[in-house]
């Protein structure tokens, strides 16, 4: 069975493409799939940091393209999960070092040996983006509930629709704050979906744990208590074709809140009757 090549893109920078790639990749690998993460953000690589593999990189994507090493030599195995590999980007070069055809060749090769190839796309719509989507047949568009990010996502979806290889794309809404949505200070998930007229594959709540996990070089899906981690695990399961309900982000943390929610639900039921 040939593997699936999924590009993770957004247009706008800083919405969480790399975090999403690292976490979905780790979650898929945890579920027993073989996964390669390909960092195409050449010159501004971060994926290795998030996975804590920075010190293990000897050969990079550019070395593979320029035939200084074999593809297998450049794959860095994850510390914990042997199912997960990273093909890192070169830090000392720029986006022009790899062309769309060259990346397509590499992803086509990887497809034969791995279940999932996740391509972490750079920000922007220039050559780097065109290169990253070249080999992919599916896309995940990451956005946040902010107007600027939604606009950029709209632009990206337009480009994805125009691109030849992309067969399907899904929306991942990141950094959602239920409290702000409640008080009408933030676009709701439904609003974003309506504006972009695109189906969602996941909703990730804002989580301060992400910052800690980035700094430690350990994806948040390894932290079982984290809500964002759970959300990413669910996204991974949905990618794999499972039908997983979306997390209830309104879940209050303390006992009083839980009691309140329970009571309010109870009174609503009473009214309906």
């Amino acid at each position: 069975m040939a593997g699936r090549v999924i590009v993770i893109t957004s247009g706008k920078g800083g919405v969480g493409k790399t975090t999403t790639s690292a976490n979905i990749g780790t979650a898929l690998a945890k579920n027993g799939h073989s996964v390669v993460l390909v960092d195409t953000d050449i010159g501004l690589r971060n994926l290795d940091l998030l996975l804590g593999l920075e010190n293990r990189i000897v050969y990079t994507l550019v070395d593979v393209v320029e035939e200084r090493c074999k593809l297998k030599q450049a794959l860095v195995k994850d510390k914990k999960n042997p199912n997960l590999c990273l093909l890192a980007a070169a830090q000392t070069r720029d986006k022009s070092s790899v062309s769309a055809e060259q990346l397509k060749k590499i992803t086509d090769k990887l497809k034969k040996d791995y279940d999932y190839i996740l391509v972490d796309c750079p920000a922007g719509i220039e050559q780097g983006f065109q290169t990253a989507i070249a080999g992919a047949s599916e896309a995940i568009v990451v956005t946040t509930p902010e107007m600027s990010a939604v606009r950029d996502a709209d632009r990206i979806i337009g480009l994805l629709e125009a691109a030849e290889g992309i067969e399907s794309y899904k929306l991942l809404i990141n950094r959602v704050r239920p409290n702000m949505i409640k008080s009408n200070d933030m676009m709701s998930v439904e609003d974003v979906e309506n504006i972009l007229s695109c189906n969602k594959i996941g909703i990730i709540p804002e989580d301060t744990g992400i910052i800690t996990s980035t700094n430690r070089g350990e994806p948040i899906v390894n932290n079982e208590k984290s809500l964002a981690g759970k959300a990413y695990i669910n996204v991974a399961r949905r990618i794999n074709g499972e039908d997983v309900p979306f997390l209830d982000l309104d879940e209050p943390k303390n006992l009083v809140g839980k009691l309140k929610k329970f009571l309010s639900g109870f009174s609503k039921q009473g009214k309906e009757q």
Partner: protein, 356 residues
């Protein structure tokens, strides 16, 4: 230089080659040939001395073309020791005895099948070894697993037959498997993964977790007694005669400094930068990137820094990486640092604190 082809054994004769670099060069030329693929390689070396890193890179070169390095024939005792420590069989037999090295039982079902297609002679051997050819329809991955298995198994057999007792002790009784068919069953998911992930990469061979030099250690020079007295050699002279590049700036992520001589940097080297020198690298600041001293192969080259926090240190052909425990967000800048120096000792990169 001759290459004799006998069945699955492929002999590479580099007996007249005198330096390690030439060995690797010649070998990589030979490995470009299609007929060297999927073979067990018998490597004949002359007087040339190889260290662990060089032998490892030779091994990974050979693994890169889906072949295995099964035996080595060398006249150098140092090379022999290194090879034994890596589990490669060493034979000191003279010229024409290669046929004895080739064990009869090494034919895996797959290999037999190939042989069968190739020639009738090989088919006779199949009959002799009396193993039925049943695995023909197996997928490619499994074939690889079996080939790996059997080659390791046979190598153990040879070791038992011909080599010293020391080596015998290293092999655990569990490792010797009597029937190839059984060994196939014992290998499950783990081996499959090895086939997918670990068959060639340099990362796994050089940075194999079992190897001691995976991570560089920091040692206190005063406490450490094992440091051998180093002689003043040609290599030291070479470093001293190199020109020196003097840089007075902070080297930031993505910047590459390379120079065919020594490099002195007054300033910090941030993570993500690369510094490559034929001679020594001296950083008057925090070294946080990748430093490669002696890039042309000079083993006496050293890396010095006020604070050693390098992601990777490379000296000549030795690699090491920062311990995972030191993967901190940033290094605190203080007024006083203890300068550190990295150099090769017994083929490992060791970092010393310079207290005096």
């Amino acid at each position: 230089m001759e290459q004799c082809l006998d069945d699955n054994m492929y002999m590479v004769d580099l007996g007249e080659v005198n330096s390690a670099a030439e060995v690797i060069f010649e070998l990589s030329n030979i490995l470009d040939n299609d007929e060297v693929k999927n073979k067990r390689i018998h490597l004949r070396l002359g007087d040339v001395t190889l260290n662990q890193a060089q032998l490892l890179s030779i091994k990974s070169l050979i693994n890169g073309v889906d072949s295995t390095l099964s035996t080595i024939d060398t006249k150098s005792s140092d090379t022999e020791k290194v090879a034994l420590s890596l589990g490669i069989i060493v034979s000191n037999e003279s010229e024409e005895n290669n046929t004895e090295i080739k064990p009869q039982t090494t034919y895996t079902p797959q290999e037999e099948y190939k042989e069968e297609q190739n020639s009738e002679e090989a088919y006779k051997i199949v009959e002799e070894s009396d193993i039925s050819v049943t695995e023909e329809q197996e997928p490619v991955e499994e074939q690889e697993i079996i080939q790996e298995n059997v080659s390791s198994q046979t190598s153990q057999e040879i070791v038992e037959d011909t080599l010293q007792e020391e080596v015998k002790e290293e092999i655990s009784p569990e490792a010797t498997i009597e029937q190839p068919q059984n060994s196939e069953q014992k290998n499950d998911v783990k081996d499959e993964l090895e086939v997918i992930f670990g068959s060639t990469p340099v990362q796994t061979s050089i940075f194999d977790t079992e190897l001691p030099k995976e991570v560089y250690e920091t040692k206190n020079e005063l406490e450490d007694i094992v440091v051998p007295e180093e002689e003043y050699t040609k290599e030291d002279l070479e470093i001293e005669s190199f020109p020196t590049k003097y840089i007075k700036q902070t080297i930031r992520s993505g910047q590459v400094i390379s120079y065919e001589g020594n490099i002195i940097i007054i300033g910090d080297c941030h993570p993500g930068c690369e510094i490559k020198a034929f001679g020594d690298i001296t950083v008057w600041g925090i070294l946080g990137g990748i430093a490669h001293a002696g890039a042309a192969g000079n083993q006496k080259a050293r890396v010095r820094a006020l604070k050693m926090n390098a992601i990777q240190l490379r000296i000549a052909d030795c690699y090491s990486r920062r311990p995972d425990s030191l993967n901190t967000v940033y290094v605190e800048k203080t007024n006083s640092f203890t300068p550190e120096e990295a150099r090769i000792i017994n083929n490992e990169i060791v970092v010393f604190k310079i207290n005096d």
